[in-house]
Symmetry: C2
Subunit: 326 residues, 2 copies
């Protein structure tokens, strides 16, 4: 842990009582002057830190910025996801950054956030709006021991983890729209782009790209998109702390990734089905250039959507676009 | 076409009669002195070119080197495969080179050969021996409109194309061992590594990495490998022209890729089945950490191997290692 992260950890664990410069100095093994300098830097970043002769230093508030060290410290020890966190001010797409890391042999679990993306991507080559400091735009590198066709399990796990994190932090209950969207009042609040690189029978790595509309204002969306997308701020009527949500999401992702790796996908899928509004509905589905209509019946053991067509066939759908019909 | 390629084309089309410097100069629109200089360069590369006052220039022999322009000229117009050919003296792995090109947005069909590879790869992270100027080590970039699980079709098509090229050029009838090996007398003569990058429902690109043991000597193999691998030279008792075989393989690959893209995989699969010695045999199969035994029954429509287990189930196998049992 860096000195910054250690200071913030110490401040958080003594939130009400405060901690003196002398204590911090001793605990961290650096001079009181160095502590003072770091505290000044943190204040520059927006951390509101009170210094009083009696109570020492107290953390009054955390700014809505993504600070890699602080996220690492707050997340604490995880199995895989978030062992390494990097924050960029701006990237083309965080998936691009992770791809380079993947090819350089970086271990799984590394997470890259960007305060803004110039070429944020959604599924099927679509754009993903990612304006500065208003959402969580990040990617995670995973190297699961799965076959390529089992990769949908990770996408299902990621949506489920996102659902829990949003619910725990905000109390909101999102709807899961198969395969990869989270909606509030029928509008997109978060999405996941799953990209894999594989041999025919072995995944080399998977990149989960995740976008969450946290503090976007209605004006951030074009009028077309406004009917289709929303943000936590719009739904809650007030801004929400992005670092708080980021930590919660990474913790839940780590938990669900561990479940998939342990072969416990069924438990994840049960949770997914509970929150999925696509199931039981009459849907139309575009997959490649085929159009299939039918009733969304359940989730296959590999994460596929099982669709009962009008002819009674059960179709196994891996990807594509679902439209809810009635 | 470059001047080199044009000169070689002209020499090949007038193989017996020869062509004068004046004719070449006129045809190519460059000076006779320039023609002379290029001919000298080609001689340096090992092209044996006779110059006589009566018959002009005649191509007596082509060296066993991979010359990108010459390969392009000999291959002529193809639909996709070999529209662009690049030859490297040495690379880590030609798949690595193609991967960079793919990510830079290069069009499908580009082929990269290396005279030697320092990190040639086989399936499942295995090494592929690729010593200098003795085999064909190359990779092809494809951007098919397929779903990830349909990618095995390309691997089947590539093996089938390889089989035909080797048969046409040498008369040898190889055996196909599922999924991706060509054997002669039970020993590996060629192999294919298929790597894909995809979203869950859409292939972004596929890299076919192909290795053919052409002129390797028994001494090129370690004693372990010698029992498992062979070369055309060992089987034929004499060296075989690598450029001749390269051109034949690219032509056949182009043909089979067109068949897959046109939805004619069934025809490719029929050809594959005809030459596959795995079918009808009792095999054991390692896929991930599962071991399955049964009779290899047929090829699925997506390129999977259909295996009838001892319990009568039909198992669909995408990858893994087959061992022939009896």
């Amino acid at each position: 842990m860096t000195t910054d992260a250690q200071i913030l950890s110490a401040l958080r664990s003594t939130e009400n009582s405060g901690v003196s410069g002398a204590e911090l100095s001793q605990k961290l093994g650096v001079s009181r002057a160095a502590i003072w300098a770091r505290i000044e830097e943190l204040r520059q970043l927006g951390y509101e830190i009170e210094a009083s002769p009696h109570r020492g230093y107290r953390l009054l508030s955390t700014p809505d910025v993504l600070h890699a060290d602080d996220l690492l410290a707050r997340l604490g020890k995880t199995k895989v996801v978030g062992r390494d966190i990097r924050v960029f001010e701006q990237t083309t797409s965080t998936n691009d950054v992770i791809e380079k890391l993947a090819r350089d042999g970086v271990k799984e679990g590394v997470v890259v956030f960007a305060e803004s993306q110039t070429k944020g991507r959604g599924r099927l080559g679509r754009k993903w709006l990612s304006p500065g400091r208003s959402g969580l735009w990040f990617s995670v590198l995973l190297r699961p021991d799965l076959r390529p066709q089992e990769t949908t399990q990770l996408m299902v796990a990621a949506v489920t983890a996102l659902w829990r994190a949003i619910h725990e932090e905000t109390g909101l209950r999102a709807e899961i729209k198969w395969p990869n969207d989270l909606l509030l009042r029928g509008r997109k609040i978060a999405g996941i782009l799953t990209e894999l690189t594989a041999e025919l029978d072995r995944v080399k790595y998977v990149i989960l790209g995740i976008g969450v509309n946290v503090n976007l204002n209605p004006g951030d969306f074009s009028s077309d998109v406004r009917k289709l997308a929303t943000s936590l701020k719009i739904e809650l009527g007030k801004p929400f702390s992005r670092p708080d949500l980021a930590v919660a999401i990474l913790r839940e992702l780590d938990r669900d990734y561990a479940r998939v790796c342990a072969g416990e996908f069924a438990a994840v899928a049960d949770e997914w089905e509970e929150h999925c509004t696509t199931l039981g509905r009459q849907v139309a589905m575009q997959t490649g250039d085929r159009r299939i209509r039918g009733r969304a019946e359940s989730l296959g053991e590999d994460g596929a959507l099982l669709l009962r067509t009008e002819h009674g066939h059960l179709e196994r759908i891996i990807g594509g676009d679902v439209t809810l019909e009635r």
